[in-house]
Symmetry: C2
Subunit: 302 residues, 2 copies
């Protein structure tokens, strides 16, 4: 299977601490690298955790609270200074474009690479290649905020080697069989597709939801995803604060994960007031046992 | 003597490395804290080196290359989230104001404290209190860039205790004597000021020059300062590159220090290509022996 994983570069919330950087994570899909959010210091985190930006081509910014994007202009500057020539695509809320351009202008920087800005639509597919598609959808936060789904495209069915060796199908036939067609022998007998092919691995899906209040409107987007990263800024005792600030408790993240029947839940965006998020894990696991705490520098495979 | 010192928070140049953060330093004067430049990650450096921003009231930004200010909006956000109410004064190139305001608007942030922006004049005194004055002056860089002088005001002369005990001068007389007046006895005899007072400590002066090409036009500003922080981005072998990029070599920094007859030279803004700046120190000391390398987290007293 192709590598499909995320590396956590920052899992803190608004205020950085000695142990938590603001939001950022690098998604690996085969040779591709996609950055999701880029809080202050993200480029330093990449150095610290030896996460290369060599194959970084697309950056997705969830919203314009600083802890999710203040590191972007610094990363762009560094790519420029290192002589990048390949285009860089940035997806984010519309005002981000002017914020970036104004800062490039103030430093009289003419980027050596094309910076292609894509304002986020309300929802829908924003990126697509042969293997993967990225969808954005609205979260429930104080300012416009988006979640992201990274979904593998369904793979073709695999031909069984014994079938190919015995019947020598032509190229056109092989293509049809991979799409699900049966194979018809000269005498008219049909070999059913399920007997001559193997089912490919189930397409995998990663969902990123930060920042958001608990909101069941997200369930249709999240249903059955393999890994859900969901914010868990607060604990049970601070549920009122979570609602007031349009954030979630760890338990609420778990409730959403349970209702959307995701496979695994990964918690992050921890409040700076907690020196450890261990009790958040305990509270979430009471609702959804398949919950894990994100750890900076760690990589989670799908 | 009052505490007058600087703590280096970042002494790297444009591109951060595992061992160098971009420019920032905290100047301590008695209870006051002044921040000079604020590269990305400065607030994390403050946490790391336990440099408090509790008494930070004034921030001076030398120019709008990102390695000198990309951390400012994050620091301002953190001060806001921690409930700061005291005014914060920011001195910088005019476009900085819009850059800050645009980012505050995008996050729908209404600061809890007054953010008072002061666009930098071409040169002159930009800050003054009872003890200290701050002057800005133009450096020679690719975009408009300023150096800063932090100069103690001359102190009044101190009355000798034996004189006061013997002659009991009145309040008005004491004030005049502190300003330099002689003391006249009832019989008309004058006690010369130099016999009844002590000379106060010489006013101290700190100069910050980053970023700049070697430029002898700076000498009048720097003459006789106690401590000069000067950029030393490149080494001797890269003198051409230094000129081309409007930066200095360590040797050039030393030449300027020698010609301006400063007391001590502190080097910084080291290129990311040097894993250690030791050879920069060697090259500079050949010209100006009283040269030192800045070290992140270290504090230098005047």
């Amino acid at each position: 299977m192709l590598d499909f994983s995320i590396t956590i570069l920052g899992n803190g919330s608004a205020v950085p601490t000695a142990w938590q950087n603001p939001s950022a994570q690098m998604l690996h899909y085969n040779q591709h690298r996609f950055l999701i959010d880029c809080g202050e210091g993200t480029q330093m985190q990449m150095i610290k955790y030896q996460v290369s930006y060599r194959n970084l081509s697309h950056i997705f910014i969830s919203h314009l609270h600083g802890d999710h994007y203040f590191g972007l202009i610094g990363l762009i500057s560094t790519l420029h200074l290192f002589g990048r020539e390949k285009p860089l695509h940035v997806y984010g809320p519309q005002p981000l474009e002017q914020i970036l351009l104004m800062q490039l202008k103030a430093s009289d920087t003419r980027l050596k690479f094309p910076l292609l800005f894509h304002p986020m639509p309300a929802s829908g597919i924003i990126y697509e290649d042969g293997d993967l598609e990225v969808t954005c959808f609205p979260l429930n936060h104080r300012i416009p905020t988006w979640g992201f789904l990274f979904r593998e495209k369904p793979k073709e069915r695999n031909l069984r080697k014994d079938f190919v060796a015995k019947y020598h199908p032509g190229v056109a036939q092989m293509h049809q069989i991979k799409q699900g067609a049966d194979f018809v022998l000269p005498d008219g007998t049909a070999l059913p597709n399920r007997d001559i092919t193997k089912t490919p691995p189930k397409p995998r899906c990663y969902a990123f939801c930060s920042d958001t209040a608990y909101d069941e409107k997200l369930i249709p987007y999240l249903r059955g995803v393999d890994l859900l990263y969901h914010e868990a800024t607060f604990d049970d005792a601070m549920a009122d604060k979570a609602a007031e600030k349009y954030h979630s408790t760890a338990r609420q993240a778990a409730q959403l994960a349970a209702r959307a029947k995701v496979d695994k839940l990964l918690l992050g965006h921890f409040s700076a007031r907690f020196s450890t998020p261990d009790h958040l894990l305990k509270e979430a696991r009471e609702v959804f046992p398949h919950t894990f705490l994100s750890v900076q520098g760690d990589t989670y495979a799908l």
